[in-house]
C-alpha cells in the first residue's frame, strides 16, 4: 500500500505536466520508506539520544550525501556508523549513489538524534527533516519509536550521553 502510494506520487508530476505545469512539484529527489526510531533506555529521558533507521533511495542521476537533519525533539542530528560494534560519527555524511537505496539499520549506518528535549518512548511519534548535499531538504512522515533488540552496539567512549 505504502509502495503504491509512493509510486503514484512519483507519477503525478509526469501525468500533470503538459496540462498544468504551474501546479507541478519537482520530482522527488530522495525517497524514504519504513523509517523508525529506536526507543531504549538511552532515549527515555531528556538529554538522551537514539538512532533513526530507514530505507533511503536516491532518485536522481547524481550522487547525493545525507549530511544532517533537524527534529523538534533533538538538539542535534548526526549521521553515524557502527564499525566492529562501536558507533561513531561518519566523517562525511552518508553517500547515496544515483538510483540506489541505502538501508539505515541497527548495527550499521543510521541517523542519530542527540540532546533529546523530550523522552522518546515506544509509540512516540518523532518528526525529522533530512538535509543533503546535492538535494533539497526532505520532511519525512512522523516516525514511530519502537523497542528493538537488533544491533545492540556499544557507544564510542568519547561520546557524551
Amino acid at each position: 500500500m505504502r509502495r503504491s502510494a509512493l509510486i503514484s506520487l512519483a507519477l503525478v508530476p509526469a501525468l500533470l505536466a503538459p496540462i498544468a505545469p504551474a501546479a507541478v512539484a519537482a520530482p522527488a529527489q530522495v525517497v524514504v520508506a519504513d523509517a523508525w526510531v529506536k526507543a531504549s533506555s538511552f532515549s527515555d529521558h531528556t538529554g538522551g539520544m537514539t538512532g533513526v533507521f530507514m530505507k533511503i533511495t536516491n532518485k536522481t542521476k547524481r550522487a547525493i550525501t545525507l549530511l544532517t537533519g533537524t527534529s523538534s525533539i533533538a538538539g542535534m542530528v548526526e549521521t553515524h556508523q557502527v564499525v566492529d560494534g562501536v558507533m561513531s560519527k561518519t566523517a562525511r555524511g552518508i553517500k547515496l549513489m544515483p538510483g540506489k537505496t541505502v538501508t539505515l539499520e541497527p548495527g550499521g549506518l543510521h541517523v542519530m538524534l542527540m540532546g533529546l528535549k523530550k523522552p522518546i518512548l515506544a509509540g512516540t511519534k518523532v518528526d525529522l527533516t533530512l538535509k543533503f548535499a546535492g538535494a533539497n531538504p526532505l520532511v519525512i512522515k512522523p516516525m514511530l519509536a519502537k523497542t528493538a533488540a537488533a544491533g545492540e552496539e556499544t557507544y564510542d567512549p568519547g561520546m557524551s550521553h
Binding site: 529506536k38 518512548l121 515506544a122 509509540g123 512516540t124 511519534k125 514511530l144 519502537k146 523497542t147 528493538a148
Partner: protein, 405 residues
C-alpha cells in the same frame, strides 16, 4: 485423471503461449508456454499466503468472517505504572503493526522480515477486560452490559486461562505467519504489559471444508448452526454495539471460555446417546427428527412412546433462547495440548460468544446451561475471560483512541 486445477493451469499456460506464437517461432511459443505454466503454478502454490482480509472499517476484523485455520488468543496484564497516555502509545504501535501485518508485510524493525510471506487472511482483534477500566479510572467508558461473569457451579477455572486486561486475538490460515505476527505484536507490547495467557486454537485447513459449512468440534458435533448469517441485519443486531461510549460503537463484547472435553468418556457413548445429549443428528447436524442441519427445531415433537424427540436435557433445548434477544454469535476454535497427567491429551474448545450486550444476550443462556445441561457431564469450563472489543479503525485512525485520550 485431469483435475480442475490442471485444467485451470493448462488454460493459463495456453493463454501465455498464444502471445508467443504471434510474436515468434515454435521455440519461443514453447518457452512462453513453460513460463506461463510456471507462473500459474507458483500463484496457485502461494494462494493461501496471498489472501488478505479487510481490516479497516467500522468493525475490527476477525469477527464477522470465517474462522481461519489457526487462532491465538492472548490475554495481557498491564504494568502497574501504565497510564492512559502509555495505553495510547501502545495502541499507536499496534495500529501500525496490524496495518502492515494484515497487508502481508513485516512490521517496522522486524528482526526476521523474510518470514512475512503474506497475510494468509491474518486478522487482529483488540479488546479490554473489566479490570483495565478500574485500573485506569475509565469506569465511565464501560459499555452497557459489560462486566465480569458471575461464577457458575460447573466452572473449574484456572488462573492461567482466566482474566486479563487486554486481549489480542489473532487468526490466520497459515500457522507460521500467525506465529510471526504474534511475536511481532507481543514484542511491541512488551513495554506496556506481560502475557498472562496464550491460547492456541484450530479449525480445518483451507481447502478441507467447503466455505460456509459449519465446523465440527472435537466431540464430532457441528458447532455454530444457529449463528446469524454474515452481513445480515440479524448479525449486526446481535453483535455490534450501537450506543454508549464512542470508542465501543461498532465494537462488541466477547466471552472467551476454555471448555475442556472429556473425550475418553464421551467416546464410550453410543451414537444414539451422543445425539440425544446434543439434540442433533451427528452426521447431518439436523435437529433430531429432522433431515437437514438448518431445518427448524421442533421442541414439542413426541416419539410413539410419548417421550420427547429432543430430550429435556438436550443441549440445544437448554441453549435455545427463552426470551427475544438471548442470542449471540459464536466463532469457536478447537484446542488440543498435552494433558496434566503423562499420556493424557487435554482437548476442548476455545468457545466464544460475541454479543452487543453480554449481560442481556449471553448470561441467561449460560446460566441455564450451567444449571442443567447433560453435556456438562463431558465438558468443564477451565478458563474464562470477557473483553470489550473496540470499534474498527479507518486508515489514519488509531485503534481505541477515544478510550485512552
Amino acid at each position: 485423471m485431469v483435475t480442475r486445477r490442471q485444467i485451470l493451469l493448462g488454460g493459463l499456460a495456453t493463454a501465455g503461449a498464444a502471445g508467443g506464437v504471434l510474436a515468434a517461432n515454435g521455440a519461443a511459443a514453447a518457452q512462453a508456454y513453460r513460463e506461463g505454466f510456471a507462473a500459474a503454478e507458483l500463484k496457485s502454490q502461494t494462494k493461501v499466503a496471498k489472501q488478505k482480509s479487510s481490516f479497516n472499517g467500522s468493525h475490527q476484523a476477525g469477527i464477522e468472517q470465517r474462522a481461519q485455520a489457526h487462532a491465538n488468543f492472548i490475554g495481557l496484564e498491564i504494568g502497574s505504572k501504565i497510564t492512559k497516555d502509555d495505553m495510547l502509545r501502545w495502541m499507536v504501535l499496534l495500529t501500525d503493526d496490524i496495518t502492515r501485518l494484515c497487508n502481508g508485510e513485516p512490521v517496522l524493525a522486524d528482526p526476521e522480515p523474510d518470514l512475512m510471506i503474506g497475510a494468509a487472511n491474518l486478522t487482529v482483534t483488540v479488546g479490554f477486560g473489566p479490570a483495565l477500566f478500574k485500573k485506569l479510572g475509565l469506569e465511565s467508558k464501560v459499555p452497557e452490559g459489560f462486566a465480569e461473569l458471575p461464577g457458575f457451579k460447573i466452572d473449574q477455572l484456572r488462573d492461567e486461562f482466566t482474566g486479563g486486561d487486554v486481549l489480542i486475538q489473532l487468526g490466520a490460515d497459515d500457522l507460521l505467519i500467525l506465529s510471526h505476527a504474534t511475536r511481532a505484536l507481543l514484542r511491541d507490547s512488551e513495554p506496556f504489559g506481560t502475557v498472562r495467557w496464550q491460547q492456541a486454537g484450530f479449525t480445518n485447513a483451507v481447502g478441507s471444508n467447503p466455505e460456509g459449512k459449519t465446523q465440527r468440534n472435537l466431540m464430532g458435533q457441528v458447532d455454530g448452526t444457529d449463528n446469524p448469517e454474515f452481513g445480515s441485519k440479524n448479525f449486526a443486531n446481535q453483535v455490534w454495539i450501537t450506543g454508549g461510549p464512542a470508542w465501543a460503537i461498532g465494537g462488541t463484547q466477547l466471552a472467551l471460555r476454555r471448555i475442556q472435553m472429556n473425550l475418553p468418556t464421551w467416546d464410550m457413548l453410543g451414537r444414539n446417546d451422543k445425539e440425544e445429549v446434543i439434540g442433533r443428528h451427528l452426521d447431518t447436524g439436523a435437529p433430531l427428527g429432522q433431515k437437514n442441519e438448518f431445518d427448524p427445531i421442533n421442541f414439542d415433537a413426541k416419539k410413539e412412546n410419548g417421550l420427547q424427540v429432543i430430550p429435556p436435557f438436550a443441549h440445544i433445548r437448554r441453549a435455545a433462547a427463552k426470551r427475544p434477544g438471548e442470542q449471540f454469535f459464536r466463532r469457536p476454535f478447537n484446542y488440543q495440548v498435552v494433558g496434566a497427567k503423562p499420556g493424557e491429551l487435554d482437548s476442548g474448545l476455545l468457545w466464544t460468544a460475541y454479543a452487543a450486550d453480554l449481560t442481556k444476550q449471553y448470561l441467561p443462556v449460560q446460566q441455564r446451561l450451567a444449571d442443567f445441561d447433560l453435556l456438562n457431564k463431558w465438558t468443564t469450563p477451565i478458563g474464562s475471560a470477557v473483553f470489550a472489543i473496540a470499534r474498527g479503525f479507518e486508515p489514519g485512525q488509531v485503534l481505541a483512541e477515544e478510550l485512552f485520550s
